[in-house]
Amino acid sequence: MGAYLRPRRLEEALLALDRPHVVLAGGTDFYPARVGRAIEEDVLDIGALAALRGISAVAGGWRLGATTTWSELVEADLPPLFDGLKQAAREVGGRQIQNVGTLAGNLCNASPAADGVPCLLALDAEVEVASRTGARRLALGQFITGPRRTALKPGELVVALHVPRPAHPTRSAFLKLGARRYLVISIAMAAATVEIADDRIAAARVAVGACSAVAQRLPALEAALAGARVDRSLADRVDPAHFTPLAPIDDVRGSASYRSDAVLVLLRRLLTSIAS
């Protein structure tokens, strides 16, 4: 039988990671991967680490503790910047999953269809990682390196996410496409954050999920949106030429060509909703 550690202090947890452990938080990816077999790995349960909990406004932005659950996020008092992420939070599984599943768990599981990732990319989120030898921060785009792969090194633990405060008033939104209403893995999804100054877009960040091995920002689209007036014409700025970072595949949920078409529709609708 493996060890099961549930430390209360971060230092203890980092000390434990001197040896490999499977990290357990909400359990929503841990247990489904272990159906019908004995669980014999060494487990580090980070659920009791107070340092990893909670959402707080800090200088320059917000700190989202690694084990913040989707429900806690939805219930938190946050500015419209987080509307898109809150919409995504309500699309992660059912309420049962949202009540225990964590933000950092969604990143560390690194599914191409992780519902939280496009929004966090569009929020320019950074991932704070700690180890016994110190801490570092990575842009989310650098943190997830491939399907089911992250930049976490042995001994490292995700401690928090950091969302910078935008320079201007901001709107954000999220859209998910699935083959049923609840409990569904995305066929495609899109998230956008736009900063608005003088009725024009001062900065835009747009990301698409489930259409590439890792969710991707669309820099060309973001550039095309910059300076645009915030009205119904925003949607017209989306062009398939912006989709070069994407590489959709055929799978049980949809075909590659369908995903490409769907992304165009999702992005247009997303921008229309942001403009209205």
Partner: protein
């Protein structure tokens, strides 16, 4: 590790491995089996409990995380005085629990909502229940119950003598289901039981050799192989025992059982497949109908030439000549996929040896077939086998075949210890039967007035690796494939081919839902061609009493399709108006309305399928219904009680039920083919009449006398005369009724009387299609069903609504792909947010043979739904679905292609 927490208000200390799932600790260590496990992966929500006042899946919570926290389970809902909570009462009153396996999870999710929101609306309820899957109800009655739970409490209806039939009586087994006390296949395993883990084939087709099992045998109580099975073949038909209990050197589908590891539970779970010495030699599998029927295709079963299981058809009139004279002819080729039953309770059961008998407690739809099959496999006499059905957490045809039964029986017999086996969700999905994929080539023609003249339908089925119920599908479909219409010239053909897919077996409708997709698309196409309203076209052609079917059977009574269509007509017109108004302001979304019709023969096709029901009245005055018909959630325990009660003339509430146990009941056949109300119901009616006659005779009373039972005394009031019978003095009374629906064999042209009666139905679907994304939202279904007589309207509606949910899944999302969709997040079934509001209209065109005129409704609910939805999609988009499920990418592709054609 020690975990201290508050469980249902009580300080509790649990000891064990902290990584243990909360669900397992509750069930296995703390005795709270009200929390059910459907997937162990957070996909189904059956294990929903409250953790610190919030709903969570108990299968995703580590016991190590529970320290110091508060856990509440379904067992905590009852009031302190032992009465039911308002929510539980509402579930009972509204028929929100069918099989009951999702009920505890639904109740806890709803409790979570009701604690936060005193009077939630439908949208809030859907959000709160979105994480719990139900495969039985279609969710509508669950939503009604949660809405009602915040209203005044319901008064539970207990019909008086003579008034049970037709009453919305609460199900007799409902209390156990809403309290979590009902015991399913995995809920009452003896503490000293050994456990089985089955090692299964990872290949669709392979040869294999077993290595040295000595090391494994040392760690385990036993390792069972094919050599341990006395007769290593089972199957539904007496002459087709083609599926091995454990494969012998060759596997024919992914998921086929190869070995059974028997030992203590922790040990069997700790042994990985890689520790089991099996040398595989994979071979190229035969996948799909084309591969199976290709010239020179390799054989799936060496003794089945052409990979053909069976074929046959119906011929009437002169099809070729008739087509030549048709004013309009339409044709289409339709394809369907493997569909998984996805009952929320995976296969589970346990066995023990009692002297020279074997006793099997198992979730099943068919205890008597199980008994005989186990006797055959074990080379025992049927008398030596006892099947005790547990509560069945959904069946839909999937629990008509053996699963755990032979394995636990063989192991318990040999080891003389109780042995249990509970399938995991992926195992349940990989190993057990599916709905047959079908390819249906249909051609229909009509005259200028829109009267059908001829049809030619060829239905080809992929029956998978083993026969299972393949012959039943291939026989039933040709009888039904012309649809519920009078067609003078008919040729239909059904054929089933073996492949290396999973065995395709029985699934609600036995192939008829697939065929209905074809014939209903043809009706739409003909109606459109002649510019006749689609409903009116069907009305014009509907089979009516007095008509002759394609098998030459004259429908003497109870053919209520035209009445169904009459009842739907105002809804149909209103739906058209609403859709037109919506589309006038058209954007990316367009609405459409569609209609589907069906007929369905009740009971076996041209085969005897008798039921025998007994009623006992003991000297102590206990009135017992001995009912061998298994209630898998559809409500036969209640229906049969209602029928028997009115036949006898005592209140239904006075009956005690003994159900399913093959030692204590008589054979009432399998729960399939929509037969229990009609066949076992008739037997129950006759048993009730028999007991009534005996009592009247003892009292020397006339047939109009009324009865009452108090204690050991029966009071018989015959006009002014009152007589009393003291049961303590007369001794026990036993009564019996049997019924076998009158049918005849079909001849070489399929002519004869395949069924004693038929159900008829028509449904309307309104959908909204997102033209840009290809998604379909079903907005409303109106379902009109001729059920003969609704013995219990709530239960009848429950069958229709649940069938509709499965029909919606068939049309839009369900497709089983071996290896790729062996879980409930890649294999999608409808959630509470996918099933629309459903209006049920019950047409009662009495069937004289049936109990109080009743027929069956178990399968008919599903059959017209997919055609209605697909017709609505066509109405909205102009796209006719030729392949289901109509996943968003498929519809999108078809919309784009149609646009291209128009451009």
């Amino acid at each position: 590790m020690k975990v201290a927490f508050t469980l249902n208000g009580t300080a509790t200390v649990w000891r064990g491995l902290p990584v243990t799932r909360l669900a397992a600790a509750l069930r296995d260590d703390l005795g709270l089996t009200g929390t059910k496990v459907g997937c162990d992966a957070g996909d189904c929500g059956a294990c929903t409990v409250l953790l610190d006042d919030r709903q969570v899946c108990a299968c995703l919570v580590a016991m190590g995380q529970v320290e110091g926290r508060t856990v509440e389970t379904v067992e905590n809902l009852e009031r302190s005085d032992g009465g039911l909570a308002r929510l539980q009462e509402a579930f009972l009153a509204h028929g929100a629990a069918q099989c009951g396996i999702c009920t505890p999870g639904m109740l806890m999710a709803a409790e979570d909502l009701l604690r936060r929101t005193r009077q939630p609306g439908r949208a809030e309820i859907e959000e709160a229940l979105g994480g719990v899957l139900c495969r039985c109800t279609g969710y509508g009655k669950i939503i009604e119950a949660v809405l009602a739970a915040s209203q005044q409490p319901m008064v539970r209806l207990s019909p008086p003598a003579g008034a049970a039939v037709g009453a919305r009586m609460v199900r007799v087994d409902g209390h156990a289901k809403v309290t979590g006390r009902d015991l399913f296949g995995a809920d009452a395993v003896p503490d000293d039981a050994l456990w089985i883990r089955v090692v299964r084939s990872p290949h669709a087709r392979a040869r294999f050799e077993l290595g040295d099992l000595g090391a494994l045998r040392h760690r385990l109580a036993a390792v069972l192989t094919a050599a341990d099975v006395p007769f290593n073949g089972f199957g539904i038909y007496p002459d087709i025992k083609d599926q091995p209990v454990l494969a012998a050197g060759i596997v024919r589908y992914r998921g086929e059982a190869v070995l059974a590891l028997v030992g203590d539970r922790a040990t069997v779970l700790s042994i990985g497949d890689d520790e089991v010495p099996i040398r595989w030699t994979p071979e190229a599998p035969v996948m799909g109908i084309d591969a199976a029927t290709a010239a020179g295709a390799s054989l799936v079963q060496a003794d089945k030439p052409r990979n053909l299981l069976l074929d046959g058809g119906v011929r009437r009139g002169d099809v070729a000549t008739a087509f030549a004279g048709c004013a309009a002819i339409v044709e289409g080729l339709f394809e369907t996929a493997f569909v998984e039953h996805a009952y929320i309770e995976p296969e589970a059961g346990w066995a023990r040896r009692v002297g020279d008998r074997i006793e099997i407690h198992v979730t099943t739809q068919t205890p008597y077939m199980d008994r005989d099959e186990i006797a055959n496999v074990m080379r025992l006499s049927p008398d030596s086998v006892r099947i005790v059905p547990t509560a069945c957490g959904g069946g839909f045809g999937g629990k008509l075949d053996l699963s755990v039964q032979p394995l636990v029986a063989l192991a318990a017999w040999r080891l003389k210890r109780p042995v249990a086996c509970v399938y995991t969700r992926p195992e349940s999905m990989a190993a057990t039967t599916k709905r047959h994929p079908a390819r249906i080539a249909a051609k229909f023609g009509c005259d200028a007035a829109g009267k059908l003249v001829a049809c030619d339908v060829r239905a080809t089925f992929d029956t998978g690796a083993y026969a299972s119920w393949g012959p039943t599908v291939a026989n039933r479909v040709p009888v039904h494939a012309m649809g519920p219409y009078a067609v003078p010239h008919v040729r239909t053909w059904g054929e089933a081919f073996f492949t290396n897919g999973p065995p395709a077996g029985a699934f609600r409708g036995f192939g008829v839902p697939q065929a209905a997709i074809a014939h209903e698309a043809m009706m739409d196409a003909l109606a459109d061609r002649l510019d006749i309203d689609r409903l009116e076209f069907r009305h014009r052609n509907a089979l009516r009493a007095g008509d002759t079917t394609a098998t030459g059977q004259v429908l003497a009574h109870s053919a209520g399709l035209a009445q169904c269509l009459d009842a739907l007509r105002p809804h149909w017109r209103r739906a058209h108006d609403e859709v037109a108004a919506f589309n006038a302001a058209s954007g990316a979304r367009r609405r459409g309305v569609g209609i589907g019709c069906m007929w369905y023969g009740i009971g076996n096709t041209s085969m005897s399928n008798p039921s025998r029901i007994r009623i006992g009245l003991s000297p102590s005055g206990e009135l017992t219904l001995y009912n061998g018909a298994v209630d898998i959630g559809q409500g036969s325990n209640t229906i049969l009680t209602q029928i028997a009660a009115d036949a006898l003339g005592l209140p239904a509430g006075q009956f005690v039920l003994v159900a399913g146990d093959t030692d204590r009941t008589a054979d009432a056949g399998k729960t399939s083919a929509s037969r229990q109300t009609f066949v076992s119901g008739k037997a129950a009616e006759r048993a009730g009449h028999d007991l009534r006659r005996q009592i009247l005779r003892l009292a020397n009373a006339g047939s109009d006398a009324t009865l009452s039972l108090e204690g050991t005394r029966i009071t018989v009031r015959d006009g002014a005369e009152v007589r009393t019978i003291d049961l303590a003095a007369t001794g026990p009374l036993t009564a019996e009724g049997t019924f076998d629906p009158p049918t005849t064999a079909l001849d070489a042209d399929g002519q004869g009387v395949p069924y004693a009666t038929y159900a008829f139905a028509a449904q309307i679907a309104t959908v909204e299609v997102d033209l840009e994304l290809g998604t379909v939202k079903v907005l409303r279904i109106v379902a009109a069903h001729d059920v003969g007589r609704a013995i219990n309207p709530t239960l009848v509606e429950g069958q229709i609504e649940g069938g509709i949910a499965q029909g919606l899944g068939l049309a839009l999302m369900e497709e089983f792909l071996p290896e790729r969709t062996e879980n409930l997040h890649d294999y999608l079934i409808p959630t509470v947010g996918d099933v629309p509001e459903i209006d049920c209209i019950l047409i009662e065109d009495a069937e004289p043979l049936g109990p109080s005129g009743a027929k069956g409704v178990g399968e008919p609910g599903l059959v017209p739904t997919a055609p209605a939805i697909l017709g609505a999609v066509h109405h909205a988009t102009g796209v006719r679905a030729m392949r289901v499920p109509l996943l968003p990418h498929r519809l999108h592709e078809a919309i784009v292609a149609a646009k291209g054609k128009r451009a």
